[in-house]
């Protein structure tokens, strides 16, 4: 077998463009997913049954169906409802953030539930509303605890974003496919793609480690 190192060198700039797009999708999806997840996670702990039920249906539906199917649903089914074609980038981010939101919601729910009940009682007994106590007391403490699982979710999202290649969106994996279609260098290109993913996820996991350590120190003072 010939290993064409030159092919790797030539393709690398193109792959890096794809990697940039992957980072973009991931960043958007994780940010939106974080927002969705925070509200849904809180909603799952609501005392109002309808809010709680809606949140549970959302989480169960998303976690119970494959991301790939969700991407198809958004990209192919949604245009029929709204009556116009959806831009692949919008579809990709929508599907990924809705997906990520459900997992993040469960992380937030667990984090909030892990905070001692006395904290909410102390806040309420001082006359603060439920929302004020959540914002000033519960969420800041919960957030520190959920940094590691959120980091995992971030990494998972980055890898799962490769699935949006099926709707022709040119992120890292799709770029790789296109280059292989032209050059037949599947071994070299897939190896490069894998390597780039590895570098990116490794960077994130170091970042998360750093955040975790910093907050641990913050806790102590």
């Amino acid at each position: 077998m010939n290993f064409d190192f030159d092919l790797i060198v030539r393709s690398f700039p193109l792959l890096l463009v794809g990697a940039g797009v992957t980072v973009q999708i991931t960043a958007f999806s994780v940010s939106l997913g974080l927002l969705i997840g925070m509200f849904v996670g809180i909603a799952r702990l609501s005392n109002t049954w309808i809010i709680k039920a809606l949140a549970a249906v959302y989480v169960d539906f998303i976690r119970g169906t494959p991301l790939l199917v969700q991407i198809f649903l958004i990209y192919f089914a949604l245009p029929i409802i709204v009556g116009q074609r959806i831009d692949p980038f919008i579809a990709a981010i929508t599907a990924c953030s809705i997906n990520s939101g459900a997992y993040v919601a469960e992380i937030f729910r667990g984090g909030i539930q892990s905070i001692d009940k006395g904290q909410m009682e102390a806040g309420r007994s001082l006359g603060m509303t439920w929302g004020q106590t959540m914002r000033h007391i519960i969420l800041p403490q919960a957030f520190k605890r959920i940094i590691p699982p959120l980091g995992n979710e971030f990494i998972a999202m980055m890898k799962d974003s490769s699935l949006v290649s099926v709707i022709g969106f040119e992120e890292l994996t799709r770029r790789g496919q296109l280059i292989i279609a032209r050059t037949y260098g599947s071994f070299e290109i897939w190896l490069s793609v894998a390597f780039i993913y590895l570098i990116m996820t490794f960077t994130i996991s170091r970042l998360v480690d750093y955040l975790e350590r910093r907050y641990k120190i913050d806790d102590k003072h």
Partner: protein
């Protein structure tokens, strides 16, 4: 100041409060004693609606505890101190104290800080304002918790076994702070096992057992001349 009428509380099948009637007057220090599981903490927690009575009526400072906005209003006037302190671990001592005045009363920060520093002097922790709760001893944490409650300038203070989680040598420093509050004329309801304190500081003592108010009277009447057999047998075991 506080009027409790026929209050019942069920936890599922458990009937914890069985028709409590009580009254606490302005500037009165009422001490609630009784064996574990007698419902005394639950009664205290009903006064600021941390527990919702299943039946009955509670009126605090003329406000009936009926809906959410009334409850928040009452909680602004009623300070509570917990057995396990419940300080906010991610906030410094000063931040613990100024948070509620700033978010609830919209007190400007400079003013809230001034109030907090005065309170810290009062509870003897002026040098700890930048410390974090975990750096403090139990007794110090509880004194911060008292200062935190006082920062809302409450009309009534509730104490739920404030010294039960403390090492013995730290009990006194907390009781001393409570004593000075009582002398200043704060209306207080205290659940405690500190009988010496109850006797010295209490204007009135309520004895509860199995969800009922068995007997009430001055400390002298309860501790020296109890009428009910149940009160006598409880006191004979602990005094």
């Amino acid at each position: 100041m506080i009027s409790i009428k026929n209050v019942h509380k069920h936890f599922g099948k458990l009937h914890v409060l069985k028709g409590i009637n009580a009254h606490i007057a302005e500037k009165e220090v009422v001490v609630i004693i009784g064996p574990s599981g007698s419902g005394k903490s639950t009664l205290l927690r009903c006064i600021n609606y941390l527990e919702e009575p299943t039946e009955g009526e509670i009126i605090v400072d003329g406000i009936p505890l009926t809906n959410e906005s009334n409850i928040n209003k009452v909680r602004e006037e009623v300070g509570m101190v917990f057995q396990r302190f419940n300080l906010f671990p991610h906030k410094s001592v000063l931040e613990n104290i100024i948070l509620a005045p700033m978010t609830v009363r919209k007190t400007p920060k400079s003013e809230a800080v001034k109030i907090a520093q005065d309170l810290l002097v009062k509870v003897g922790l002026a040098d700890k304002e930048h410390a974090y709760p975990e750096q403090l001893s139990g007794g110090q944490q509880q004194r911060v918790a008292i200062a935190r409650a006082l920062a809302m300038k409450p009309k009534i203070m509730l104490f739920d076994e404030p010294t039960s989680a403390l090492d013995p040598e730290m009990v006194k420093e907390v009781l001393d702070v409570m004593k000075s509050l009582a002398h200043e004329g704060m209306t207080m309801a205290i659940v405690t096992h500190e009988m010496g304190f109850a006797r010295e500081v209490g204007d009135r003592v309520l004895f509860m057992d199995e969800g009922r108010l068995v007997e009430e009277g001055t400390p002298e009447e309860i501790f020296s001349h109890a009428k009910e057999e149940r009160t006598k047998s409880f006191l004979s075991k602990i005094l």
